[in-house]
Structures are given as structure tokens and as C-alpha cells.
Symmetry: D2
Subunit: 333 residues, 4 copies
């Protein structure tokens, strides 16, 4: 008998990816999946890619979730705290929402609105010391998808002194699943295919999360919606403030990491290579002409950017091998 | 120590998918991967999605392959026979090419040109009796991607007498990876995105393979190249010649099949739900107005249409659980 | 001073394409564009591709439209009759909806529901005799997008006796703009990209329209949603019932048509080549093996399939050159 | 009898777009189109979107081009000089290649290799004073596609003192037609769909052209290949060095420009809205948190980024209305 697992908010894209990963996980037994408006529906009507999985979506409440040893919350931002409050303290929780990521309540209010619910252990195992914190936690706040992509690129370079934390410019493009499964005209295939569109320019809610995780003090971020279902490509540039090779810094920082791949010199990350995996691909160089470091990172926003990362954290929380049930390799082309 | 496996023709799309599946297979140990022009190259330079796999591509010859217990041939049509001839009889082989699929040498000559190399056990386990044949074979000819999609939809309906084998019309659309990894102008992204283009109208080389596998005697097939990297959607219609429910026929035929999913009534297959998996989704109805059965099947041309199917056959050939190392669930969205 | 033109239902995709065409038309002066929920909005907030056009959307009522010499109705099915009834008889109308296409009220009820509003002149100038009827009409019912694509492929072949009207099988794939600009989950980019999905299998509402226009008596149609914003590709097969060359029949039928292009033998139509144009590309062959004619036609569902066709009809209704304001050439790649 | 026009290099994407624009131009008569390997081919075999245009591609030499009053050169970089040298001085030439754009021959050598051919009038009419220079020129060097997109965003802000010319960071994504019609594996649809991939990071050949045109002194540029056939989206950030509203600066600079649209505040450019047009959409803001101006510009790389721009220049060179034969409006969705 394995570890009993439930997913709240299973009808969205992150929820569906969680179900896929959990259905193939050797130790986690999926015992419940809940959804708001889709409660009572068979999971394959909502996620046809899971044909063969016999499961009916339940209601998101304490009764439906408390029977689990581990609960993943894949709810809209602002809804996790109420559900978490109903669960017994011994039930371990990974929250894929933003509710418990920020330490600064004022920043929460500014970017998300409403009252700050609190701060949980930040679920990015590859940050220094963070893996041990996650292992000892019963409550983990999973990273934002952009935040994971950018933090993995930036944190070691600021820590090493090579990148000026006060001069960081990011342009990051995301596939559409990052915008969620909500029926909005601007997310229609007709609008998105053949199109690149920036949004929340200079005002994205992941900026304070990235600053908190990397130590950056001034960071300009332009998010762009790209015509592909999955993937984030972040181009992170910072003033070259030190002396050294940024690629070597990444290599040293991530030498032992199973999911982080600093590519051979000259080979740049691209999103399709990470699709369906829990990997993040990285490359860095110094643009001598402009005096800036350029780092590019790519990952699957539903993998290492959300659900894969959440399973990785859960593996740590239960003392399982960190890579269990996750794929290092992308599904391409 | 597991079963030693080699892949010949590892630089193409089917080859890359084989490597991905084998790298995650519990019993198959990937010991060699060969390629023609890319020999000497690290596999991740050719398949960046496999970052983390330490393997250098070798030369496709007997020396590079004979050390294996199992060899997958993912070579251009017409090249398998020469390589197979160099391998000892105790090395088991699954050929993903067309060389050994047809029983009729004249049809081979008509559709592929050149001399017919012979006929191996046809690698579609879900055909009646075929699973046992594959288990007892050391040489298996994997299905064509269109052939698998269409045969799975059509064979039980002809066998049941519901579909008239002399009146079959198929329109099937494929993602671009089905056309291989060759640098041709008509396969450029600029040409394909936003476009649907028919090709080999009434003249596709899978037609004789489908007839052989299903018993169809007259079959019109129009293949269409679709703007997506993976997936085949086949719309198969046949004159309704009998009495009964075609969906029930499919349900009965495939009740025990782990990878074949006849969807709930009213829900139609779509390709994205099968992406990255070894599943095939099916649905059927009778179009009363026109007196025709309409069956739609969807699968991943690199999964159940090629590399996944090949691993499924290999599992059978080695007495392993048929689903080992394969996913029932698609990666979507 | 040109002809005064208004567009009702200007916020949808067909409406936007009408505005684009009318803004460049030498004789039609766009005086009003109306929309339901978007009334009061500047047109460029709804259609950013029209930046440079200074126009505010008005309310769809008699006051807003009666001042025009010509009104295009691009409303949801079932809403045209009420608006048309409020317009003076001397105002010419082209209805892009389905309301007035069918002669048989019972079929209307079966496929669309509700009461049949009546029958107007069918707006497909390339049908024999139809051009003259359109010239003399003040009320024209524009074709459905699938109907136009399939009818242009099929009508001459049935008329010539080459195609058996009782044995027609069609599989037709459409870009997403054909499904309209409504915020539905199944039309989200995340769901559509990388996907082909059939819908309304054997039950599409354009079937009676095609039968009426072509004389087909039994026709199986499977529509498929394709991952591209524009374009329809129809594969039309029919039992080869006569003696002759179907390509030559099309060539003879359309020799003088400016927008219909029967391609050189061996070259098949593809959708991207018609994008943004009012052209339809055609090719035909006999599949000897199956005894069927295969005709493929491609057009832009918003061009010759909707708005371009409507402008073509309007040109005829006002005695203008039929090609005025329309492009024969596609925007590709 | 109009102005006689020839296109050299008509088989590529920019060449095809030139033919489309010229076929609809009221004053330019297309008398010849040449191509290297495709000479002798009917144009519709190479550009199916031009079905209806009766033209056979000729050989690119003086004999084939000298008969024209105006020649567009759409040749690979480095090949224009040899062809131009063969044309009489009274034949006006617009070169879409890079050969004559740079003033500094050393920079030409560094970025393109080979000998510098010279410097022609730079074909960006919206730069201060440039329109008059183009009117008086017989030789014009059309802009690079990235260069046009970025220069239009950046030049007025540097000129106004708001943007620090020594601190510019650009990330710009292009559709695949920008990479040309060459059969390369990395441009295959299978590789590109669902993918974003950076290339020539910090080393793109348009950087010196942008610096020359804008006065920027240090500029970091990361180009990204995006999964769409057309369009460039440039995110241009620069240290906010002055006092004022960057959007107002753009509004003032481009108030009279027919093809440049500074969008309403809060509305950001996206590429699809410019597809098929000669327009460029712009928006700007100050990211207070990071102290940087963010400007986003979007255009069609084959329109305002190449062929449309070339026709605009040619209109000026012949004293025609600048917008003749060009569309302000995009084809969307």
C-alpha cells in the first residue's frame, strides 16, 4: 500500500498534468481528484488524454481530501488557504498556487490583492539549502512557472557576484497552458496561432517572487504569450559585474542536479526539448559588446514549472528518490 | 543485467523516440545507437530532448549492432534487409521500415520499387492471433503509421461483416514528424504552419499494407499533411453492409487491450490526447443518411504508429509485460 | 460619393474581415458597423489589425443600419430575419448567416431549430445561372463556408454525370475562425494547437445546403477542426459513375471564373495558398483502384467562404466589376 | 503604360511577397521575375498562392532585368553588388539584401564576411530626413527585418534623450519566413512548431545596422525563432535617462506616418495584427521599478520588414503616393 494522494483543482491544465504524473508514480496512489464545477464528471471527459484512468472528479472540500497522506492544491490564486485550513496538520500539502510563496505580505497585496495567507517553504529544491528545508516541511509553496524559469537562470549568477542584482532585464515567453484553462477570447486558438503578444508589461506578479528567490533588486520583466501549448523560454540579461564565466558558474551550481542541464557551449536551450519532462535547460554567455550576461533557460511550464516540480517536492517530503515518477527526457518533436 | 538493445537509424524522429522510450525502460539496456551521417556525434546534439543521456552515435554496421540481444531498425525504406542480413539469427529484430511488411512482392515493387526483401511477422499485436505470432518471432515488421491507425479502426468492422470491404474511403491527416527528418522545402515550418496539404492522393504506399491487414478489397485513401508535429487522425468510412453497432464491435474486439480505447458514445478521438503515448483512441457511428459507417481513430504516429508499437512488440518477443516502458496516457495539452 | 455600406455583427471574425475588405474597396463607403455587446467600443479595440481605421461600433438596430444602401448581416444563425425585417426594401442585403439559405423549411428546423425565415437568392455566383440571379436580387443568402468549399468541388461533377450523387463521402477540415469568436474551452489555443478533432460527425448543418446546391442525394460528411486560424480543405470523393476526366470537367466549368483555379495536373490545393484571398483552388483525379473520383478544394473560410464571397455578391448586386476590392492572390507563407 | 518592374530572386519568401504586392499595384507593371535554380519554372509552381498570375521565372542576369525601369533585388546577402553593377544607372534599384546598408566596411566584414560593396540610401522613410533622401535616390538599401522593427521603436527615444543609447537590451522574436526558404533541418515544421529557440545570441548581423540607424552605442540583442510563419515582435528596453513620456515621444514622431501606429495607452502590439500589411504597431511605457523604458514593436517581417517597405521606398523614388499598392490593415485572425 503506497502513499495516498489527492489533487484539488484537477480539471485545469496543471491538475491534469498532476494526474498524469501520479498515475505513473510507483509510490503515490491517486485516491481522489476534486474540481469545482466539474465535480461528478468522469476524469476522461475533462482530460481525454487520461483515457484508461478510472476516476470520477469529486467536490473540493475537507471530506474529499482528508483521507489522503498528501494533497496537491492546484486552485486559482487566493483559494488555497481556505482549503488548507481544513486539512489536518499531518496531511502534507504542496500548493501550486501563489498564496504562500511571498514573505512580504504587502507585496502579496500589491500583486495579487486581498489578505496575505502566510508563507510556506519555497518549493525550488535547486536553491542552496532549499532541498533540506523541503525535506523537513509538511507545507510547501510550489514556484510560479516564470519564477522557476528565471530564478534557475539568475540565482547562481547573482550569488557569484557576476550579475549585478540592480540591473536585470528579462523577456520571457510562455505557451498558452500557462494562462490556464479559462474560456477567454484572447486565449482562443484563432487569436493565438501565428501571434506573439506581450502582456502585464513591467507588472507581472512573479517579479516579487523572483526578487525574493534571487536577490535581484531591480528587474524589468516583459512576459509574452507564444503560439505553443507548453514551454517557457526566458532570456535573462544582467550587467556583467564580476569576473568569470557565467556558464561555468551554472555548471558548478548544478553539477549534481538531475533535472538541470547546462548545455554544451554554443548550444542554446529551446522549449520543445523540455516538453513533458521535469528538466530545465540552461546556457549563458557574456555579450562583450554590451557588457551584459545573457542567460537563456527553457522548461515545460506544466513540468518543472508546475506539476513536475510539485511531484519533485513531494518526493523529497516523503523521503523518496527525488526523480521518482518524473522524466528527465522531453517528448520531441 | 538487462536485455542489451541497439537502435540503428537513431538520428531520425522514430529513432529519437525509441531512445527516449528505451532510456526509461526497466529491462532494456540501451547499449548502442547508430546513424549514418551523424556517426560520432553525441546524441544530445542530435536530440536535445535527451539531455542527460550520455551516448555517442556509432556507425550502422554489424560490428556496432551484433553485441545486442535486440536491434531496432529505424532506417529509410529499403535499407533494412542489408543490415538485417549481417546480424546473427539469435539477435531479435524489430524493423520500423516497410521492407518486410508486405506478403506480395509485386505490390512491394509497385509501391516502393526495387526487390522485395521478404516477409516478417506483422507487428500489430491487436489483430486476432497476431500477439502469439509476435511472441514466437525473432523478426518482426512493425506497422506503418497510417496503416496502424486505419487498420485498428477497420479490421474488426470488416471481420464482423458490418463494413463492406469493397467500399472503403479514408481521409487521414498526419503531423509532420511522419514525413521524417529530411530537409525538404515542403516540410519547412513556413510552408506547413497554417496549412493543410494533401499528397500521394490515391497512391499512398500504405494502401496495400492496410488491405493485407484488414481484408479490404477497394480502398480510397487521401493523406493530408497537417500543421502539428505529431499525431494521425484517420476518418474511415465504409458502406454499412450488415446489422449491428460498429462501436460495440470495436468495444468487443478491444475489451482487453491496454492501449486501445473506444471512447464513450458521442466523444470523438482527437490527436493531442494520444501525444507521447502508445494509445489509440477510437469511435464509430453509423451515418444513417448516407448508409455508411464512420470510424475515427487517433494515435501518435511516433508512439503507437512507430516507436511505441515497436517497443510493445519487443516486450512480447522477450516475454515481458506488454505495457512495460510505455505510457497509456497522453501528454496534453 | 460611393455606395453607403453598413455591417451588422462587426465584432466577429467574418465581420472583421468584411471591415478589412470594405475599408479597401473603391466604391463601397463604410458608414456604420454595429455589434451587440461591443457597441460603443472603438473598432481597433476589437480588431487591432484595423489600426488606422477610425470607427466606433454602434448598436445593431434599424436606426443604425437604414442609412445605408447595402447592409451585410454577419450575425449568429437565427438573428438575421428580425434585423432584415426592419430595413426598407430598397436597402440591399447580403446575409452571411444561414437563415435564408435553405428552400426546405423542415430541413431548416431539423438542423438549426426554430422557425424557417424564408429563402433568398443563394450567393454562389459560380453555379450555373446563379450569377444573373444575384445581379437581379436585393436579398442574397451567402453560402456556408464548408458548403462553398464542397459545392464548388462537387457540383460540376454531378452535373456532368461523372459523380454518382447517391454516393458522396466528404472529409473537410477547417481552421478555427470558422467556429467563430466565442469563448469556449474547446476552442482555446491550448486545446487546438497540435490537435485535429472531428465534430458533428455525420450531422453537420451544411449537409442539406450542399445537397440543395449540388444535387447530391446521399452525402457523408465528417468535419474536422484543424490547428490553423483560417482555411478549409475538403476532400470530396464520389463513385465514378461516368466516363471522362473530372479535372477537365472542372476546367470547363470554371474556365472564365476569376476566383476559381483548377491547378495544373498533379498539383494539389492547400489552404495556405488561399489565405486572405477570395480564391478557391481545385484538383481532381480518378482513383482507379477504388473506383472513386477524388476532388480536393481549398479556400479561406473568411474569404471565399464568407466575407470575400459576400463582397463578390454585393459587387454583382450593384453592377460593379465582380472582382472589385477582392484579391485573387493569397498571403503566404 | 505603367512603370516597368522586375524582381530578381523571386523564388524566396520576400520575392513571393514582392510579386503579390506588385501584381496588385496600380502603377508598377511586373515585366520580369528571375530566380537562380528555378529559372524556367512557372511562378505558380513556386508560389501556389499566386495562382492566376501568368509568369515564368527567368534567369537573373542583365538581359533579364535591364528592360525594367525599376528592379528589386531579393537575393542572398552578398550577391546584390554583382547584379547591380550590370544594370544601367537610370534603372532604379531597391536592394532587399544587406549589401549596401552599412556605412562602415569593417563592420560589414565582421558580420557578413567578404568585401564591402558600398553604401546606398537607407530605406527607412520614417527616420528624420530619410524620406527626402529616398525620393532623390536611384539606389536604395532596404532595411533588415529586425532592424526595421527595432529602429522604429528606438530611434525617437534616443533622439529625444529619454533612452540611454549606451544601455539598450533587445529580445526580438521572428516568424520562420525571416529565416528564408532554405531546406534546413532546424527550420522544419517538426522542429519549429511548439518551440521557441534563440540563435545568434549577442551576435546578430543586424546589430550594427540598428546602431547606425538609431545612435545606440551598446545594444544587447537576443533573437528568437518563433513558431509562426510571419511577424516580428521586438521588446526594446533602455535605461530611462530623461524626463518625459516615451509613448508621447513616439506619438509626436509618427503623427503623420500612415504605416506607424502608436496604440492607445495600455494596448500592446501583437504580431498577428500586422500580418500581410505594411504597418508597424508600437507601444511604450516606463517600468518605474527597474528604471527602464520598455517599447514593444510588431510588424510583418515580409511586409514592413522587407517587401512592403521596399515597395514603399519605390513609391517614393517614382513620386507616387507613398501608400500605393500597400495595405495599412492586417489579415487577422
Amino acid at each position: 500500500m503506497g502513499i495516498r494522494v489527492a489533487v484539488a483543482g484537477a480539471s485545469g491544465y496543471a491538475g491534469g498534468e498532476l494526474l498524469r504524473l501520479l498515475a505513473g508514480h510507483p509510490e503515490f496512489d491517486l485516491v481522489a481528484a476534486t474540481a469545482h464545477s466539474q465535480a461528478g464528471t468522469h476524469v476522461t471527459a475533462v482530460h481525454p488524454q487520461l483515457a484508461g484512468l478510472d476516476l470520477t472528479l469529486g467536490v473540493t472540500d475537507a471530506a474529499g481530501l482528508s483521507d489522503a497522506d498528501l494533497v496537491f492544491l492546484a486552485l486559482p490564486h487566493g483559494q488555497s488557504a481556505a482549503v488548507a485550513a481544513q486539512l489536518p496538520p499531518e496531511v502534507k500539502i504542496v500548493d501550486l498556487g501563489a498564496d504562500f510563496r511571498l514573505k512580504d505580505g504587502a507585496l502579496w497585496g500589491k500583486y495579487y490583492g486581498g489578505e496575505h495567507a502566510g508563507t510556506w517553504t519555497y518549493g525550488l529544491p535547486e536553491l542552496p539549502g532549499q532541498r533540506e528545508l523541503i525535506k523537513g516541511s509538511t507545507r510547501v509553496a510550489n514556484t510560479g512557472c516564470y519564477a522557476a524559469t528565471i530564478t534557475l537562470a539568475l540565482a547562481p549568477l547573482i550569488a557569484s557576484g557576476l550579475a549585478d542584482p540592480a540591473d536585470v532585464v528579462v523577456v520571457a515567453s510562455s505557451g498558452t497552458s500557462g494562462a490556464g484553462r479559462s474560456a477567454k477570447v484572447n486565449l482562443l486558438a484563432s487569436e493565438v496561432m501565428g501571434d506573439l503578444s506581450p502582456y502585464k508589461v513591467g507588472a507581472h506578479q512573479h517579479v516579487p517572487e523572483i526578487k525574493q528567490a534571487t536577490g535581484a533588486t531591480a528587474l524589468s520583466m516583459t512576459p509574452v504569450l507564444a503560439p505553443m501549448p507548453r514551454g517557457i523560454l526566458a532570456t535573462v540579461t544582467a550587467r556583467f559585474a564580476g569576473d568569470g564565466d557565467p556558464r561555468q558558474v551554472l555548471l558548478d551550481a548544478y553539477a549534481e542536479e538531475p533535472f538541470l542541464h547546462v548545455l554544451p557551449a554554443g548550444q542554446w536551450p529551446h522549449t520543445a526539448a523540455t516538453s513533458g519532462s521535469n528538466s530545465c535547460h540552461l546556457q549563458a554567455t557574456v555579450d562583450v559588446d554590451s557588457g551584459r550576461i545573457i542567460v537563456v533557460s527553457a522548461l515545460d511550464n506544466l513540468g518543472k514549472g508546475a506539476s513536475g516540480q510539485a511531484v519533485q517536492c513531494a518526493n523529497l517530503m516523503f523521503g523518496l528518490p527525488e526523480t521518482m515518477g518524473l522524466s528527465v527526457f522531453g517528448v520531441a518533436p
